[in-house]
Amino acid sequence: MIEIVEPGPLATVQDLGRSGHAGIGVGVSGAADRAAMRLANRLVGNAEGAAAIESTFGGLLLRPDRDVTVAVTGADSQLTVDGRAEPVNTVLRIRAGGSLRVGPPARGLRGYVAVRGGIAVEPVLGSRATDVLSGLGPPQLTAGTRLPIGPAPAEFPVVEHAPIRRGRDGDLELAVVLGPREDWFTEQAISTLLGESFEVSAEINRVGMRLDGPELPRAHTEELPSEGMALGSLQVPPSGRPTLFLADHPVTGGYPVIAVVTAADVDRAAQARPGQRVRFRQVTPDPAKR
């Protein structure tokens, strides 16, 4: 068991989410920064999709009741094990009754604590992820929550530390592909989207982030029949202020999507903090690597 002593602003259990249930209105959910969660799991020898703890803006304090091996990835946080400073992206051991503290991050927003063996709460529709929009999965973690740990995998950690390039401060540049509804917007809106910068507002959660900045005017004002929404969609409501959809986004939506952030860059977007500036760089839909 791992006991959550302090959860911080928001801590949840996440894995790679639920697939195959969209037709009955169930979204994918899962880690907001999937690349960071996968890395945390690889560091401790878990399967990449094992359930881990997603901490938002740090403030997390936890205490295992047996010896555990953990790794913390994602946001660049100050970590302490029993009060001793430790680095992120590193295999750490915590003794039974010891403690791990994940402090407020200097950069980024979301940290991932993977425990060797994975968090073994009961899955719902094949996933242990908390979906804050639909209410599926385990409740958000509170002081006193006790999380079971699964059996240790056969694999052992192969490296002690993953060298990760530190995210730069300043503007976040995200790759987008225009569409699927770019023809619902004026040419001015497209050039504004690709030429100007936007500010991450305080309206930010696992569902998405509202962006402040120049408005993106529509060419068509009729109502769009609701349609399926992709992860990373930049949906533009009548206000003209776009929302970038993250892990717990709704399955369908009724406002047009001007562009979609590529899957890899959705992970980076999930680390953006209120006040940070975002720019969008257009890429072609078929990446050259294929």
């Binding site: 969209a22 037709g23 599926l136 569409g179 399926g228 969609s233 709704p250 999507v257 890899a264």
Partner: protein, 203 residues
């Protein structure tokens, strides 16, 4: 058919109408192209969610364009009987909007069978179509902050049942005790695309 890209995360297939969506969804459910994780049918579109690391969107698009939609009439998901007490808060308003009496609203709702066209809004919520065209009503001017689970409503050409307590703007005509959504049941949703629904009045 128009196939629109959603970066490397999805393809949005735009079709002429709902029957065309249901037909393509039915075919793709029988034979799903590699790399498609999930499908979201809607009124005029089918979203194909892709596995970005292991999928070539162009190949999936070719596979979708090659689908020959046969005579399959959507997906037959069986018949679900839904017992309803018709005492909804908007029943009188629906009668006024449709020019029917309250009894005639109940008659139209129970007499004509419905089919789940697609899900969305919330887990377990199904958009029911194919019912009586006489029951087409606009949403309420202001949505309610709390609609109880099991509430049966109308909006546009659709009917629906709220799976759990939530906000909602549909015109409420009745309620059912049937648990249409339970995560500890397989399948968790009773209203899946293709399921036909017969409402039955109980008192």
């Amino acid at each position: 058919m128009r196939v629109l890209r959603c970066a490397d995360s999805a393809l949005l297939v735009e079709l002429a109408d709902l029957p065309a969506v249901q037909a393509l969804h039915g075919e793709l459910r029988e034979s799903t192209p590699d790399g498609v994780l999930d499908m979201v049918p809607a009124a005029r579109t089918l979203l194909l969610r892709l596995d970005p690391g292991r999928c070539d969107p162009a190949a999936v698009e070719r596979a979708v364009r090659d689908v020959r939609v046969g005579q399959r009439r959507g997906h037959d998901g069986g018949l679900l009987r839904v017992p309803v007490v018709y005492d909804g808060a908007d029943l009188a308003e629906v009668a006024k909007l449709t020019g029917l009496t309250e009894r005639e609203v109940v008659h139209e709702h129970t007499e004509v069978p419905w089919t789940v066209a697609f899900g969305g809004f919330a887990p377990g919520f199904g958009y029911l179509t194919g019912g009586s065209p006489k029951l087409a009503v606009p949403r309420r001017g202001e949505s309610r902050t709390r609609v109880p689970p099991g509430a049966v409503g109308l909006a546009g050409e659709f009917s629906g049942i709220y799976p759990r307590e939530s906000p909602g703007g549909w015109q409420l005509i009745g309620r059912t005790d049937l648990e249409i959504w339970r995560t500890d049941r397989e399948p968790p949703a009773l209203l899946r695309p293709g399921v036909r629904v017969r409402f039955e009045e109980v008192s």
